[in-house]
């Protein structure tokens, strides 16, 4: 019977007497605060005596607490070093939490709607303290996570850690790799800029190739025939809800299996078919508390520090112009981790290379441990498995290379050159003309003939060019062409580039080189840059390429017996000349040049 209506200290006093109750109570408080040391222990420690021999009460919370019980009590000394794990599994887990936290912060500033998503990006960059920083961290973390998870898989493969009894661990690992790829991919779309829209359009168009239900899959993913408001919302929901839920569930399963089976030892430590991970000899035990825990806290601090340094000085998440379904940027590719599928698509049938081939590949990866029944884990005894893996890696590298825009996509050389000179900042690169300092963009008309090799070199080349244009009447054509580009000029007179504009000289030199490099397809070509003022702090740059048309069959020029291209002539015997052009506006404050 309690003294009060509930159990209290008074009951202790009643039972044990005041003195004893107070002492025991104090002892309990000290033991709770110090996680196991009672007053006697503290006294002993202060006196420098040996610890008491009673069972260590500090292990108590470890033995029945959930958070600490998630981790093994001790590890084998053989697996706590850099090898064999390279900390890749730990890093993958780190990134799961890192991405979750940075992602949740970003969610406060983001609305998944095509009307405001891009505006959200801008306000994150110009109005949210740490907005850019958080975005950089999240984006860098996402790209790093794909890489780390992939490397983790490679490591597991090469140390044979997927073998019995860890087959299912491997299987969930491959699922996690796929989820990671899709998480990264769905996040790609959310900024709703050109980079996002087109990378994802390419990626999502692969879904269309699914046999039988391709159209339905495509509609389901995009929420309509084209990527729009519904598509963005679906990608968002997948990115913040569906995929994270799957990722967390399977991370749990994966890690549970890791703990259940123990960390596999380096192959050299065990005989084939042997699994001693759970039998750790006393002299090889490294306890979670304090060794592993302090080590992990240190790694946590080091990794975070590296990411912070990278995001301050070396990496900024890209943001291109607002998504525009009507304008396809030249050289669009899928995100780098899907380049291999894009490359494979160039091999032929869309359904086979875009869906069946990757499907088979990933399916094969998942069942590897059930196919590869060779119990040996040492390198020398796994020649076939290693050979196959090297073949697959090589194929991955080659198809990824083939996925690049440079490979197998024929673009007219004049368009390539115009793009080379003017393209908008993307992936930290931009057209050659953009970074020229504003004050060096001298108003006037300049020609590559000033910088072409041979006798025409220098100002004499400009004089000759002016004469040539006047005589052939091409100057009229040029003016008419500019008129169609909404630029009306009364006359055109080319001048040498002013001496105080070395950066512009450099660009024109590059321009001349680019034309020379394409002199087969762009026969007898010239290029001009015309700079006109538009507003007080805004200039317009027109870049025009003019060349003589040659016979082209199937995308490549027809050559005569001497290896020269064959020019095309009009009915009256004059050569057919082609013009193509592009223009950009450059504002003084655009900051391309710092």
């Amino acid at each position: 019977m309690s003294v009060l209506p509930f159990p209290s200290f008074l009951d202790d006093v009643k039972e044990k007497g005041l003195r004893k109750a107070v002492f025991e109570g104090a002892d309990e408080v000290v033991e709770r605060l110090s996680a196991g040391l009672n007053i006697q222990d503290v006294r002993d420690a202060l006196r420098g005596e040996d610890p008491s021999r009673r069972p260590n009460p500090r292990l108590q919370p470890h033995a029945d607490g959930f958070w600490l019980h998630m981790r093994p009590s001790y590890y084998n000394r053989q697996v706590t070093g850099l090898y064999p794990s390279f900390r890749l599994g730990w890093l993958s887990t780190y990134f799961v939490f890192f991405e979750t936290i940075t992602g949740i912060i970003l969610m406060f500033w983001y609305t998944p709607s095509p009307e405001i998503a891009y505006g959200n990006m801008l306000s994150m960059l110009n109005n949210v303290p740490f907005g850019q920083f958080t975005r950089d961290l999240h984006r860098l973390g996402a790209e790093a996570m794909v890489l780390i998870v992939f490397l983790h898989m490679l490591r597991t493969f090469y140390t044979g850690s997927y073998k019995k009894p860890r087959q299912f661990t491997w299987f969930t690992g491959v699922l996690l790799l796929i989820f990671t790829g899709f998480l990264s991919f769905t996040g790609y779309l959310l900024p709703w800029d050109q980079l996002a829209l087109w990378a994802v359009t390419i990626g999502a168009s692969m879904a269309e190739a699914t046999p039988l239900v391709g159209e339905q899959v495509n509609l389901l993913v995009r929420g309509g025939p084209e990527m729009g408001a519904n598509g963005l919302l679906r990608f968002y929901m997948a990115h913040v809800l569906l995929l994270p839920v799957l990722l967390f569930i399977f991370t749990g399963v994966h890690y549970y299996k890791v703990v259940i089976h123990g960390h596999s030892l380096p192959p050299r430590e065990e005989n084939p078919g042997e699994d001693t991970a759970k039998r750790v000899p006393l002299d090889r035990r490294v306890y979670f508390i304090p060794d592993i825990l302090t080590s992990e806290l240190m790694w946590f601090a080091v990794t975070s520090f590296i990411l912070i340094v990278l995001c301050i000085w070396f990496y900024h998440a890209p943001l291109e112009s607002h998504a525009d379904p009507g304008v396809t940027p030249l050289g669009t590719t899928a995100p780098w981790y899907f380049l291999w599928i894009q490359g494979a698509l160039k091999l032929g049938d869309k359904t086979f290379w875009g869906v069946i081939f990757p499907g088979i590949l990933l399916g094969f990866l998942m069942v590897v441990p059930y196919i590869d029944l060779n119990p040996a884990r040492r390198f020398a005894q796994r020649r076939l498995a290693f050979s196959i893996s090297f073949l697959m890696l090589t194929a991955l590298v080659v198809t990824s290379y083939m996925g690049l825009a440079e490979f197998g996509v024929a673009t007219a050389p004049d368009q390539e050159i115009l793009n080379e000179l003017t393209f908008e900042p993307a992936h930290n690169h931009m057209g050659l003309l953009r970074p020229v300092s504003y004050d060096q963009l001298a108003t006037g008309a300049f020609t590559t003939r000033e910088f072409a090799g041979g006798a025409e070199h220098g100002p004499a080349g400009v004089v000759e060019f002016n004469d040539m244009l006047q005589q052939s009447g091409d100057v009229e054509h040029l003016l008419e062409h500019l008129e169609t580009q909404f630029l009306s000029l009364p006359t055109l007179r080319f001048t040498p580039v002013p001496a105080n504009a070395p950066e512009l000289v450099h660009v024109l030199e590059e321009f001349a080189h680019l034309l020379e490099a394409e002199q087969v397809e762009l026969l007898d070509s010239w290029g001009v840059v015309i700079i006109t003022p538009n507003q007080g702090n805004l200039k317009r740059l027109d870049i025009v390429i003019n060349w003589q048309e040659i016979e082209i069959v199937g995308g490549s020029p027809v050559l005569d017996d001497n290896g020269n291209p064959i020019p095309v002539f009009n009915d009256d015997g004059t050569p057919v000349r082609r013009t193509s052009s592009k223009h950009v506006f450059i504002n003084e404050q655009s900051g391309y040049f710092n």
Partner: protein
């Protein structure tokens, strides 16, 4: 190999490294925090600049046809590179000076009146009286013994300068500029910023009466059924506003403007007392053959009335380019035949058509104005030209117009 260990074997060292990294990270994050406002400002500026670039592209392809390449405006739309839009007041500095001199004159008159008026003087205590005397002395010291004359002289000079300045703006005034009320924002009573004015105009367009603009400003935003996205409208608005960026407006800037905003005031709509042909307005192309006789009859009557009058080609020209806004469409050959060489074209090309065998050039022109669908030139759409000139013109105005068109007898740019 030591890598085999936890990399750092001793726990103290691990703790030390970890703590150092945490502290270093905190320092770095703090450093980011310190630089955040500067970074955000520079991003803002850079983004605005790039937005202006995109706006320039849109403007040159979509807006320049009406608003002019350099934003100087045309008969179809007002100039935007325009001190009126930005509310620059050329007279303001002079007006300030004039106001200052007028205040001084009033002050001097009050002071002298006080000195003369015994009763007023008696109400002042010594200090106040001394102050009045000091004020007077100061004015006399500055403007001589007869301040009123020299102040009035100064006022006269300023007024002359002001009048001269207005005179220099005359050609702009002829095109609709009002130097006394120079702010577009004030004119329309816009309560918000210029930016929102430009933006809302872009979003929803301007439904206007064809009596003062030949065609309405289209609604450009996708919200209002137009072609452009919200961000593109912002780019465009930023481009337009960039004309006012750190701008010191000069008189040349004003005179370069080809067209000013028009006010939808009474009088802009031409109401004539004796319209020449109200019977045949709004005849659709399909109805022409049925009402052929009526058209011929009314056109013949109009020609009869005009025969007694002399057309003034100058007035015809100002009607053509101004209130009737013919030139809005009759400029490039794309929408309607160009003005240039109209008379030559009628004589050489149109009258060569056998269906017009009995026509004189004047007859053809009058019929084309009063009943545009009576004869539709191949290559141009029917029902396109306004069909209400019959009620907007009297015989004299019609004669003026015909006189102006008859003066277009140079080479026909379409003939070759």
């Amino acid at each position: 190999m030591d890598l085999q260990r936890l990399l750092i074997d001793r726990m103290e060292n691990r703790i030390l490294v970890g703590l150092t990294m945490v502290l270093a990270s905190m320092v770095l994050v703090g450093w980011v925090a310190i630089n955040e406002s500067g970074r955000m400002a520079s991003f803002q500026q850079q983004h605005l600049a790039r937005s202006v670039e995109k706006g320039a592209e849109l403007f040159s392809s979509s807006c320049a046809t009406c608003h002019g390449n350099g934003g100087e405006g045309s008969a179809r739309a007002p100039g935007l590179n325009n001190p009126q839009l930005f509310g620059h007041d050329y007279l303001a500095p002079l007006d300030t000076q004039i106001a200052a001199v007028e205040t001084r004159i009033a002050r001097f008159e009050t002071l002298t009146a006080t000195m003369v008026d015994e009763e007023a003087r008696s109400q002042l205590n010594e200090e106040e009286f001394a102050a009045v005397q000091a004020d007077l002395a100061a004015i006399i010291e500055r403007y001589g013994e007869d301040p009123l004359t020299s102040l009035n002289g100064e006022l006269a000079t300023l007024a002359t300068n002001r009048a001269n300045l207005i005179l220099q703006m005359q050609s702009a005034i002829d095109r609709g500029y009002d130097p006394e009320d120079p702010s577009r924002m004030n004119n329309v009573g816009w309560g918000s910023t210029l930016e929102t004015f430009v933006l809302t105009t872009l979003v929803s367009g301007r439904p206007v009466s064809s009596n003062y603009w030949p065609e309405p400003m289209a609604a450009w935003s996708q919200t209002a059924g137009g072609p452009l996205r919200e961000d593109q409208l912002r780019d465009l608005a930023n481009y337009v506003l960039n004309w006012g960026h750190e701008r010191n407006w000069t008189l040349e800037d004003l005179l370069r403007v080809q067209q000013f905003a028009k006010e939808p005031v009474e009088g802009a709509i031409q109401i004539v007392e004796n319209p020449v042909a109200t019977e045949i307005i709004d005849i659709q192309f399909a109805d022409v053959s049925g009402r052929r006789d009526e058209i011929d009859e009314v056109v013949a009557r109009a020609l009869g009335e005009m025969a007694e009058l002399t057309g003034d080609p100058n007035n015809g020209q100002s009607l053509y380019n101004g209130s009737l806004a013919c030139s809005a469409c009759h400029n490039l050959a794309t929408v309607a035949p160009p003005t240039e060489g109209t008379f030559t074209r009628v004589e050489d090309t149109r009258l060569a058509d056998p269906t017009l065998a009995a026509y004189s050039a004047e007859h053809y022109i009058v019929e084309s104005i009063l009943a545009p669908n009576a004869y539709v030139v191949e290559g141009y759409p029917a029902n396109n030209m306004p069909q209400n000139f019959g009620e907007r013109l009297d015989a004299q105005l019609l004669a003026d117009l015909v006189a102006y068109l008859s003066s277009q007898d140079g080479d026909d740019p379409l003939a070759n």
